[in-house]
Symmetry: C2
Subunit: 250 residues, 2 copies
């Protein structure tokens, strides 16, 4: 059966997350509903590179699905793009080998986290950035961010509810850039991320930057698996899955 890979965007504001669940509006449910219509009423299951939580956004989520009918990819992209709700869009669709798998073959993921640091919270960023009105020491935060780099057991940065066994991940880059007077942008690149890991890392970096945790909190958290060295989970609205990389890219 022909397998398709798609790059999709979604605004997570009005969804209870990516994964299908009973009595809740999810990204997966919307896409599968549209695919079912395109497939003459036969159900089609989609597989993402990974789930995203309620309120979390994606600018470059990757999914794959098997679709019984052979379709010109651009026509399928246009149909999915226009027939799904306005807060989901299909950037690209391509026919791939039957061995392609959006989750198992993902080599690298890139996340952004947006912080609105204006004294007055911007109405236009309220769904796309977390608001933080207190003082932050960026130099301290950038220094602490270096402790995240490399290969570690990140169990302490994994929220309860994960079924993953191996919690070792390799982080290639963490950047913190002030992009305007009122905007702070975090970038995380790694071979994978655990459940709520990015938001726990951001919450910990913010607490270090505000003086609520010592500068070496992340190092100590990782070494001793010490939950007291961890900040709160940062709000979902600031988080964007930007890109998923594979050996052969779309």
């Amino acid at each position: 059966m022909p397998r398709y890979k798609a790059i999709i965007q979604y605004d997570g504001t009005n969804y209870a997350g990516f994964q299908i669940q009973k009595n809740a509006n999810t990204v997966q449910a919307e896409i599968e509903k549209t695919l079912k219509q395109l497939n003459r009423g036969q159900a089609v299951t989609i597989h993402p590179s990974g789930r995203t939580d309620a309120g979390v956004h994606a600018r470059g989520q990757v999914i794959h699905f098997d679709f019984p009918q052979s379709r010109e990819p651009e026509k399928l992209r246009f149909a999915l793009d226009t027939q799904t709700p306005n807060d989901i869009s299909f950037l690209a669709v391509e026919l791939v080998e039957e061995t392609f798998h959006a989750r198992y073959l993902a080599k690298e993921k890139v996340y952004h986290y947006h912080l609105d640091i204006g004294q007055s919270r911007s109405p236009f960023k309220r769904h796309y950035a977390a608001h933080y009105r207190f003082t932050l020491d960026l130099i301290k935060m950038r220094q602490a961010a270096k402790d995240i780099l490399g290969t570690h057991d990140f169990s302490v940065f994994c929220a309860a509810g994960s079924s993953v066994e191996d919690k070792t991940r390799t982080i290639y880059a963490v950047e913190i850039i002030q992009t305007s007077e009122t905007d702070l942008l975090f970038t995380f690149r790694g071979n994978g991320f655990l459940y709520k890991m990015v938001r726990l890392l951001v919450g910990t970096l913010l607490k270090i930057g505000n003086g609520g945790l010592p500068e070496d909190a992340i190092q100590r958290a990782l070494e001793d698996q010490d939950k007291k060295m961890i900040g709160p989970t940062a709000h979902p609205e600031g988080l964007f899955l930007m890109e998923v990389k594979y050996d052969t890219s779309l």
Copy 2:
């Protein structure tokens, strides 16, 4: 009674416009509800530089109001900023002369209109830009925009429902800039704008740019008051009131 001037922002997506009306959620109703609470239950009326329509946004709307109690302006700003809903924010509040009037004394207004020209509509711009997926000739549009400049009777660009008598306005600048591969930004500066005038001008410029109207359509519309030379009203979600200027600025 002390008079205050305030610069406010709002996301118009969830409002039936600025002006208070029965059985509808409006920006004015929300702000007056908060002011009433701050004023021990006594009603306070606010006066904007002008109304904005349902779905239209403001990054620099100006209002004034008389508030019986003398308050430190920054404290009043903080109270209003935090006690109004998240889609309304107060950027600045200052005490002004009793003769100040947000509408009568406005000398100049600046509007932006955002167009998402990507083939796939961005989920993140759906409330903050109108989507337009067809070809546009920017050179033609910029040429046509010159016909808007100067002092004209803009009656033909005024939607029904306006009670304004003098429909002569002076437009200082119209700019059309492509700010990214998928973003087009229109800027309008003038001494005032009629009801739906900016959206009718944008709709006409788009129709010229797409070949549905001749290049001199605006000139002919103004000279002959010819409605056939006018395009449709562009969607509200792309429109932002950016700034209102007074002789003495805040």
